[in-house]
């Protein structure tokens, strides 16, 4: 006869089991939502780069020509306050447009198309590192740093970097957590609360994305693609025509001035 006594689980152990199960479900949900959010963010960023490279640079060129025209007109009538003001505004607009497209023009415009491996790796990273699974504030801050790096790596499609971040996080001594049913129960309950809060934040962030003008533009360009159109190229062509017209005007003004 065995001397082992089968004790019924204590209430806190039952509760811990239930809470762990709830947390697992929430964590799965969280990982998927973080993946979706990161994907949306990266797609928007990629679209903006593409847009600025295709159409934005043309607006910058147009604004530059229009600023020169306005400056030429202003230089002819130094006492005309309106003309001076218009020239200043045109120059400022040109500077703003140039600055907006400046960085984008240097970046490679490519669409964000994460591979299945990259997505799975990101899921793993989110599952292990997510800040809302932290046990205390120091842990949270550490996780946030790792997660920010991971999101950036995901957006850039850098699988090797994502893997390195995960390995670096896992090998950190801070990843070790304490024992004890009571303490563990409190930790799990706090995690559940943090995860729920983050889920609600993600929903808010996704809603905010939907209201962005950039998202609006992206949706319409994609809608056009479905209809067999290349909307960005159509836009580029339309702005290109205005550039030609502005350039003709500039030449005309310059010639008049020369003669």
């Amino acid at each position: 006869m065995s001397s082992k006594i089968n004790l019924r689980p204590r209430p806190e152990e039952d509760e811990l089991r239930l809470k762990r199960s709830e947390l697992e479900d929430l964590e799965r949900d969280l990982v998927e939502k973080e993946l979706h959010l990161a994907g949306q963010r990266a797609e928007l960023a990629a679209f903006e780069r593409l847009y600025l490279k295709t159409v934005g640079v043309l607006y910058a060129e147009l604004d530059e020509i229009e600023a020169r025209i306005a400056e030429l007109i202003a230089s002819r009538s130094p006492s005309n306050v309106d003309a001076q003001g218009t020239a200043r505004q045109a120059r400022q607009k040109a500077a703003e447009s140039r600055s907006a497209v400046g960085e984008a023009a240097l970046q490679v415009a490519k669409r964000f198309r994460p591979s299945l491996e990259l997505k799975n790796l990101y899921r793993e990273v989110a599952r292990r590192i997510h800040p809302d699974l932290a046990t205390d504030e120091a842990d949270r801050a550490r996780r946030q740093r790792f997660m920010a790096q991971a999101n950036r790596a995901y957006g850039e499609g850098d699988e090797a970097r994502l893997r390195a971040i995960l390995e670096e996080y896992e090998s950190s001594p801070d990843a070790v957590v304490g024992e004890g049913v009571g303490a563990e129960l409190v930790r799990v309950i706090r995690k559940i609360s943090q995860v729920k809060r983050r889920l609600s934040e993600i929903d808010g962030e996704l809603k905010r994305f939907m209201q962005l003008e950039l998202m609006d533009l992206k949706n319409r360009v994609e809608e056009g693609t479905k209809q067999g159109r290349d909307v960005l190229m159509e836009m580029a062509k339309a702005v290109g025509q205005r550039i030609d017209e502005a350039r003709r005007q500039l030449n005309q003004f310059s010639n008049e001035r020369a003669s």
Binding site: A38, Q40, R41, L44, A45, E48, Y51, L52, V55, G56, Y59, K93, E96, S97, S99, A100, V101, A104, P131, R140, A141, Q144, R145, M147, A148, N151, R152, E201, E205, R208, F209, L212, E213, L214, D216, L217, R220, V221, G224, Q227, G228, R229, V231, E234, M235, A238, V239
Partner: protein
Amino acid sequence: MTDDPEKNPRAIVPSVGDELTKPGSGLIRRGLEELASLRPERAVPLPQGARVLICDDEEAIVEYLEKLLREAGYEVRSTLNSLEAFEIARQFKPHMALLGEIMPRMDGFKLAEKLRMNDPRTKVVLTSEAETSDLEIFRARGWPFDILVCPFEKEELLEKTRAWVREAGGTPPC
């Protein structure tokens, strides 16, 4: 907003809206306007039918217009909420949108612009008590929508609606 967790603890990653639209927001807005004025190189018509969206904050007006157009054979959706109208339009893809001029939340002009930006194929019409001279100003500004001056007769509305829906590629009932 910063993406530095030290400075902004809730920012796990850069917030895309702030990051992407700060410097280039003017260019994004211009892109949307450009798009609204584009003539599609390969225009695809709206799905067949004769769909009309009505939006006005005055319930009696909406009910009257809806009944009139429905009885005339149009497929009609209506709302008293201009924000909701935009969402309906995305799904419903109306050939024509008939909007009140003054509405809370988003007035008819703003909604008209948004609807046209959303789908330039939709014919947008504002009901307005504006004088003819004001209409000339609207047109001179190149606003991409028509005005239906109030008060209007039932027959006038039906006749114009037929023309507008046809213009948008719809097939109005006889």
